[in-house]
C-alpha cells in the first residue's frame, strides 16, 4: 500500500466539499423551506411566473430566495401528518407497491441475468437486445398497448397492475447482467471442475460477487419506482389507491405551502435506504483469494 499524502487529500476534500455544497443547495432549500409557515412561502414565491407591469415596479420585482425561515414552524408537517390522513395513506400505498416490486425484480432479474451473462444459448445477445430496446421506448408509446394488456388480464384499478410489470422490469436484468459480465469466467469454470451445478454456482459464487450491484440495484429501483408517475396514473383510477408520487408530480401555486414538507417526508425513506445500502456497494468484495 502506498503512503498517503495528507496535503493533497485536504485540498481535494475542500474542492469536492465546495462542489458538494453547491449541489446540496436545492435540498437544503427544500428542507429549510419546509419549516416555514404557509404564509411565508406564499409571500416569498408568489412572483413566480408573473409578468409585473414595469409601471407598477416590475423592474425590481424578484422572487425572494430565502434559506432561513423567519421563524421555525412545524405547521407544514402537522398539516400533513395529522390533518391530511390521505397523505399518509398515499405514502403507505407507495410503500406497498415499491417493496414487492423491488423484492420481485431483484430475485427474478438475478436469475435472468445469470442466464444472460453466464450461460450460452442461441439468440442470447439478441434477447438481451430486446430487453434493452423495451427499456428505451418512451412510455407514451407503450401506454395504449399496456392498457389493453392490463385490461385483458383484469387488473385494471388494482395494485397488481403496477406491481407485476414492475417485477418483470428490464432494468434489473440489464444492470445485473452487466455486473455479472464483470466476473471472470475462470471463477465459474473452476467451480464447474469442482463438480458444482449451475444452481450452486449461481448462489455460491455469482450472488456474493454481485452484492454491490444488488445493493445499487435496490437503491436505484427504489428511486425509480418511488417516483413512478405514468403507470399509476393510467392504471389506478381510484384515488384511494394512488401512490404519493402522483401527488408530488406537481405542486401548484396554491399548494406550495405544504409542498416542501411533503417533499422532505417523501425523500426520507430514499435517503435512509441509500445511507444504509451505501456501505454494501462501497465496502467491496474481499474475494482476492481466488486468482483471475
Amino acid at each position: 500500500m502506498k503512503k498517503l499524502n495528507v496535503l493533497p487529500m485536504i485540498a481535494l476534500t475542500i474542492m469536492l466539499g465546495a462542489v458538494a455544497a453547491a449541489m446540496l443547495i436545492p435540498i437544503l432549500l427544500t428542507f429549510t423551506n419546509s419549516l416555514m409557515t404557509e404564509q411565508e412561502i406564499g409571500r416569498n414565491y408568489d412572483l413566480i411566473g408573473q409578468m409585473t407591469d414595469v409601471a407598477a415596479g416590475g423592474k425590481d420585482a424578484f422572487v425572494n430566495l430565502k434559506i432561513l425561515p423567519d421563524w421555525l414552524s412545524l405547521e407544514q408537517y402537522t398539516q400533513l401528518l395529522i390533518f391530511s390522513p390521505k397523505y399518509l395513506r398515499m405514502f403507505w400505498n407507495s410503500a406497498a407497491m415499491v417493496v414487492p416490486i423491488i423484492a420481485g425484480q431483484t430475485v427474478i432479474a438475478a436469475l435472468a441475468s445469470y442466464a444472460l451473462a453466464k450461460l450460452r444459448f442461441w439468440g442470447r445477445d439478441k434477447l438481451f437486445m430486446l430487453y434493452i430496446m423495451t427499456m428505451l421506448m418512451p412510455f407514451q408509446v407503450t401506454l395504449v398497448p399496456n392498457y389493453l394488456v392490463v385490461d385483458k388480464l383484469g387488473l385494471m384499478n388494482h395494485e397488481a397492475a403496477i406491481i407485476l410489470p414492475g417485477i418483470f422490469g428490464a432494468f434489473g436484468v440489464f444492470m445485473l447482467r452487466q455486473f455479472m459480465a464483470h466476473i471472470p469466467n475462470a471463477y465459474t469454470e473452476a467451480a464447474k471442475i469442482d463438480g458444482a451445478g449451475q444452481w450452486t454456482i449461481f448462489s455460491r459464487i455469482i450472488i456474493p460477487m454481485v452484492k454491490p450491484g444488488l445493493a445499487a440495484l435496490i437503491v436505484l429501483l427504489f428511486v425509480d419506482y418511488w417516483n413512478m408517475i405514468e403507470q399509476p396514473l393510467i392504471f389506478l383510477q381510484d384515488s384511494a389507491k394512488q401512490p404519493l408520487s402522483l401527488y408530488l408530480a406537481q405542486i401548484d401555486k396554491e399548494a406550495r405551502g405544504i409542498g416542501f414538507a411533503a417533499s422532505v417526508l417523501y425523500m426520507t425513506p430514499l435517503v435512509l435506504l441509500f445511507l444504509y445500502a451505501e456501505s454494501y456497494f462501497i465496502e467491496g468484495i474481499q474475494l482476492s483469494g481466488i486468482k483471475g
Binding site: L24, V144, Q250, R256, V271, G284, G292
Partner: protein, 275 residues
C-alpha cells in the same frame, strides 16, 4: 430455468406492448387501422418540428451524456480513494437523486424564473434580465439540471462497478510498473467496460426523463432550443396521433440500437479478452 420467470412476465408486460406499439407505427388509425407501410415515417421525416426535436435531442445527449459520464466517473474514482469526510461527500452527491420532481421544479423555478434568483443577481450587477428557459442558453440550463440530478445515479453505478474489480489486478499492474494513468486506462476503464456500457444506456434513458422537469417548467411548447423528442411525442399523444408517436419512437430506438449494437460488440471483445 433461470430465465423463464423473467421471460414470461417480460413478454407479457413489455414485449407485447412493444411489438404492438411498433405495429401501430405502420397503420393509419389507432382502432381498426389499416397497414400503410412507411407512410407515417415519411410524414414524420417531413415534419420540421420532428427534425428539430431529433437534432435537439442528439445535441443534448451528445453534450450532456459524455459530460455526465466523465464527471461521475471522475467523482467515483476520487471518492473511492481515502479522503476526509468521504462518506459525507458521497452522500452529498447522491442526494439530488432522491428529491421529488415537485420540489425540484419549485427550486428551478426559484432560480430560473424571469423574476428568479439568477435574474435578481444579474439585476444587482446592473445587467439585463435573461428569460433563461426561453433563450438560446436554455439548453445549458437543461444540461445543468440533468447533471445535477443524475451524477449521483451514475456515481453509485461506478462505485459499485469499481468494487467488482479485484484488487490484485491493480497489484499486478503495479508490479508490472504501471503508473497511475496507465492503471486508470488499462485496469480501471477496461474492467469497467460492462458498467460503462450500462451507465451509458441508463444515462441516455435518464436524459429523456429531464423532459418531465422541462415540461413542468416550460410547458408543452417550450423555446425551440429545448423542444425535445419527448415534447414532440407528448404533443402527439395529446393530439392522439399515436401513429406518428410510435413511428418517432421506433426511429429513436432504432438509432439507439445501432449505438448499442456497437457497444455490445465492444463488450464481446472485452469478454473474449477476459477469457
Amino acid at each position: 430455468m433461470f430465465l423463464a420467470p423473467s421471460l414470461i412476465g417480460f413478454a407479457m408486460f413489455y414485449l407485447i406492448p412493444f411489438a404492438m406499439g411498433i405495429y401501430e407505427s405502420f397503420t393509419d388509425n389507432a382502432i381498426g387501422g389499416t397497414f400503410v407501410g412507411l407512410d407515417n415515417y415519411k410524414e414524420l421525416l417531413a415534419s420540421g418540428s420532428f427534425r428539430k426535436a431529433a437534432s435537439n435531442m442528439f445535441l443534448f445527449t451528445g453534450i450532456s451524456v459524455p459530460l455526465l459520464i466523465a464527471l461521475s466517473l471522475f467523482l467515483a474514482i476520487l471518492l473511492n480513494r481515502p479522503l476526509f469526510l468521504r462518506n459525507w461527500l458521497r452522500t452529498a452527491f447522491i442526494l439530488p437523486l432522491v428529491v421529488p420532481v415537485a420540489s425540484i421544479v419549485m427550486i428551478w423555478q426559484i432560480f430560473f424564473d424571469w423574476n428568479g434568483t439568477l435574474n435578481a443577481w444579474l439585476h444587482h450587477y446592473g445587467m439585463a434580465r435573461v428569460d433563461w428557459l426561453q433563450s438560446d442558453g436554455s439548453m445549458g440550463v437543461l444540461v445543468v439540471m440533468y447533471i445535477w440530478k443524475n451524477i449521483g445515479y451514475n456515481m453509485i453505478l461506478f462505485l459499485a462497478g469499481l468494487q467488482t474489480i479485484p484488487q490484485d489486478y491493480y497489484e499486478t499492474a503495479r508490479i508490472e510498473g504501471a503508473g497511475r494513468v496507465r492503471q486508470l486506462f488499462h485496469v480501471t476503464l477496461v474492467y469497467l467496460t460492462p458498467t460503462m456500457f450500462f451507465v451509458l444506456l441508463i444515462s441516455i434513458i435518464n436524459s429523456f426523463k429531464v423532459f418531465r422537469e422541462t415540461y413542468l417548467l416550460a410547458g408543452d411548447y417550450p423555446y425551440d432550443r429545448i423542444y425535445m423528442m419527448q415534447h414532440f411525442m407528448n404533443n402527439m399523444f395529446f393530439s392522439l396521433d399515436i401513429q406518428k408517436l410510435t413511428a418517432a419512437a421506433t426511429l429513436m430506438v432504432g438509432c439507439i440500437v445501432i449505438v448499442v449494437t456497437g457497444l455490445l460488440r465492444v463488450e464481446r471483445r472485452f469478454r473474449e479478452f477476459m477469457e
